[in-house]
């Protein structure tokens, strides 16, 4: 499926592809044991290229581009197993810049000098972001957050965008990492990325107002999260598939390239169909939605599909490699682990499917 890109979009995609050449599996492997598990200078480099402000209006210092551009960059990030959390940083910047007066941390968020990430999850099962248990009290200017967020990509983060229950419904709040009452406890994942539990006890916070086009600031950012993670998952699948296709052409057994065995051709075809399905969903949603008012049901459907496909595709890619794919030294296993991480964050396929029923009101 060819996408029809404008020349600007193609340029953006190509510059992202160039950026990831310097990332890739080798760098990703190196970051597994590091703290934070990404390179701060490279995050700033992404900032210089404008990606962290990709959705932020030009007037506020961003690129003022749309979801297609965001998806193109993040697809590349997924391909390159980029460890810098570009996607979460870019959509957080979008949220920080969406009000009439941008939040003061926006400039540093766009340059990559500060890393701000969403902290929404309160359980392992992809909760309803509009009904958090974390709550916010007080008046604007003196807001206080209390609650607990789990599986936060807090590695190297300077602040968080937290969804909380307020007097008038769900509210999006900014809380600084070093704010009083804000503590983190870290856990290790199979992928190497550290996640954290964020405990907030009467922590001072700022209200982030919604974009003029959105239903609600929490809803808008959550849908962006689902699109961002899915775009990255798409890139993970694509690259894993390319590595595998190369191998199917190269590896010989029984005197023939293994790619000539129909049993493997059918598996390769199945993989391709899955990737194209996620790909068309990502770019259809990107093309047909306002960045701050993505339809929640389709965003959920996308994350469900991308999470499921990425796991199946990366597992199948290992199977097609045989034992060499099962070594820690081979890159293909890193794609499986990245798929595991991104699929699980903000609710895995099963959690999304459950939420879809509620979001689309199927059982009403």
């Amino acid at each position: 499926m060819d996408l029809y890109l404008t020349s600007e979009q193609a340029l953006l995609r190509d510059s992202a592809a160039k950026f990831i050449e310097a990332a890739g599996p080798k760098a990703a492997r190196g970051f597994r044991a590091q703290d934070p598990s990404f390179s701060a200078p490279r995050l700033r480099h992404a900032g210089e290229l404008g990606w962290l402000g990709i959705l932020v209006p030009g007037a506020a210092g961003g690129l003022g581009l749309g979801l297609t551009e965001l998806a193109l960059v993040l697809e590349q990030a997924g391909r390159g197993l980029v460890c810098e959390p570009i996607g979460l940083a870019a959509i957080s910047a979008a949220a920080l810049g969406q009000g009439r007066t941008p939040h003061p941390v926006l400039d540093r968020a766009m340059t990559g000098a500060a890393l701000i990430v969403p902290a929404f999850q309160e359980s392992a099962h992809g909760d309803d972001p509009l009904a958090p248990r974390t709550h916010v009290a007080g008046e604007d200017g003196a807001l206080r957050l209390t609650g607990k967020k789990m599986f936060v990509c807090a590695d190297g983060a300077d602040g968080f965008l937290v969804n909380a229950r307020g007097r008038d419904g769900p509210a999006l709040c900014y809380v600084a990492r070093n704010a009083p009452g804000c503590t983190l406890s870290r856990t290790q994942t199979v992928e190497g990325r550290k996640l954290a539990t964020l405990t907030l006890t009467d922590a001072p916070a700022d209200l982030i107002p919604p974009h003029s086009s959105s239903r609600n600031a929490v809803d808008a950012l959550h849908n962006l999260v689902l699109l961002a993670l899915s775009s990255e998952l798409l890139g993970v699948m694509e690259k894993a598939n390319e590595i595998t296709l190369d191998y199917l052409r190269l590896r010989k057994q029984f005197g023939k390239p293994i790619g000539s065995f129909q049993a493997l051709q059918h598996q390769a075809a199945n993989i391709y169909v899955r990737i194209e399905a996620t790909r068309s969903l990502v770019f259809q949603i990107a093309a047909n939605n306002d960045a701050f008012c993505i339809d929640p049901a389709t965003a959920i459907a996308l994350k469900a599909k991308a999470s499921e496909d990425a796991m199946i595709v990366t597992e199948a890619c290992i199977q097609l490699h045989g034992a060499i794919g099962f070594t820690d030294e081979h890159d293909i296993g890193l794609y499986l682990k990245r798929a595991m991480l991104l699929s699980a964050l903000f609710g895995n396929a099963a959690a999304q499917r459950r939420r879809y029923i509620a979001a689309a009101d199927l059982t009403a």
Partner: protein
């Protein structure tokens, strides 16, 4: 939801199981287990001391014929035994390649001197083996292996490279498939040697596999192996390998099934108390369907195993039947891993060192499943066997 019902293996095997359990209760105590679990994940499962303990109490070679010092246990009883050991998490990897593959080959193809020297040492847990079959160019197409052995006086001189030998960084001996006649047809020029890995000219390079344990590559540079360490006649190695494998195939499943059952029990344990969005997860019909389907498949996999054991007891060699059991069980393990990740949600990502016990290990089940789908002949190759040998479809 509670645990899986016990697998009824018939009166003899059920009684034997009980005996094994009693021995384990004495010799594999919770303290020993806890100590074993303190080792890094990649070190677990291989414990020479425990192998010697098992050996001294007669638990190695229970399926061996009595004339070789075994207990002559039936295939079903052997499966019962393997399952109990695996359920208890007892470390059996140090001796089990020698006990199964190597011993089978020695029964059928070993000289009297080889049987007298090697079998008692294996049975005492004093001689550990790894399998040296695969090579960079010879995986599924094993018969194209190229590691060369050339006769020189009383020795074979070995040159070449092997890959993916499980336990090959820890074992003392390699069960090595070598090419002794490069001019013969590919299946016809192969022989098998037992190689002391401490010999000069052997270089061992361990590597980490995706499931968190190690295997090794070995490089053989003019390694001298005494001619008396060749098992079977020169150039008759393919027969030695396939005979040993046939006997082995049925047993491999035992360990796998125990892993599956344990993971399943972890999952149902988690479900006892899991609440999502204010709802009790185990009451969710979708979850119940998923758990029920997995449990049904576990029952099926048990029956595959029993059928294969019975075929062996009738003196038959299960070929496509063993392939079916392997494909079914390894893919069941994959489904179980996927279900666990789905049900555990983001918590399923956390690696072994998390505080909540049922959650730990679960994602490892999935990574481990891929091993079962590749190792011991890939599932694609197994399906070829099922189609061609089982269904007699044209090649």
């Amino acid at each position: 939801m509670s645990r899986l019902p016990a697998h009824d293996m018939g009166p003899a095997a059920n009684a034997f199981r009980q005996e094994v359990r009693e021995w384990l209760a004495q010799h594999w105590t919770p303290e020993q287990r806890a100590e074993h679990l303190r080792k890094p994940f990649k070190e677990r499962g291989w414990d020479v001391e425990f192998s010697r303990l098992m050996g001294s109490d007669g638990w190695i070679g229970i399926g061996w014929p009595k004339e070789f010092g075994g207990q002559g246990r039936s295939a079903t009883e052997q499966i019962a035994f393997i399952t109990e050991m695996a359920n208890a998490g007892a470390p059996v990897q140090a001796h089990n390649t020698g006990e199964s593959i190597v011993a089978q080959a020695l029964f059928l193809h070993g000289t009297n001197e080889q049987q007298d020297e090697w079998l008692p040492a294996i049975r005492r847990g004093e001689r550990t083996f790894a399998l040296g079959y695969s090579e960079p160019e010879a995986g599924s197409d094993l018969a194209s292996l190229r590691t060369r052995a050339i006769r020189d006086d009383d020795d074979w001189v070995v040159n070449g490279q092997k890959l993916w030998s499980t336990g090959g960084d820890k074992a003392e001996y390699m069960w090595l498939a070598v090419r002794t006649d490069p001019d013969a047809k590919k299946h016809a020029g192969i022989s098998v040697l037992m190689v002391d890995l401490r010999s000069s000219g052997v270089t061992i390079r361990p590597s980490l596999a995706l499931y968190g344990k190690t295997f090794s590559a070995q490089f053989y540079d003019n390694v001298r192996v005494p001619a008396k360490n060749m098992v079977g006649a020169v150039n008759n190695g393919w027969k030695v390998i396939t005979d040993a494998l046939a006997a082995e195939r049925v047993m491999i499943g035992g360990t796998r099934m125990a892993g599956i059952e344990r993971a399943f029990d972890h999952l149902t344990e988690y479900l006892k108390t899991a609440v999502v969005g204010g709802k009790v997860l185990k009451a969710d019909p979708a979850i119940r369907d998923r758990i029920g389907a997995l449990a049904a498949d576990i029952e099926v996999a048990r029956q595959f195993q029993m059928r294969n054991a019975q075929l062996v007891e009738q003196g038959k060699v299960p070929i496509h039947e063993a392939a079916m059991g392997k494909v079914f069980a390894s893919e069941l393990q994959e489904r179980l891993g996927q279900a666990a990740l789905d049900i555990l949600g983001t918590g399923g990502l956390l690696s072994e060192d998390t505080e909540s016990a049922p959650v730990a290990e679960m994602e490892q089940v999935l990574r481990h499943a891929i091993m079962g789908m590749i190792g011991g002949g890939t599932n694609e190759i197994q399906r070829n066997v099922i189609a061609q040998r089982g269904l007699d479809l044209p090649r």
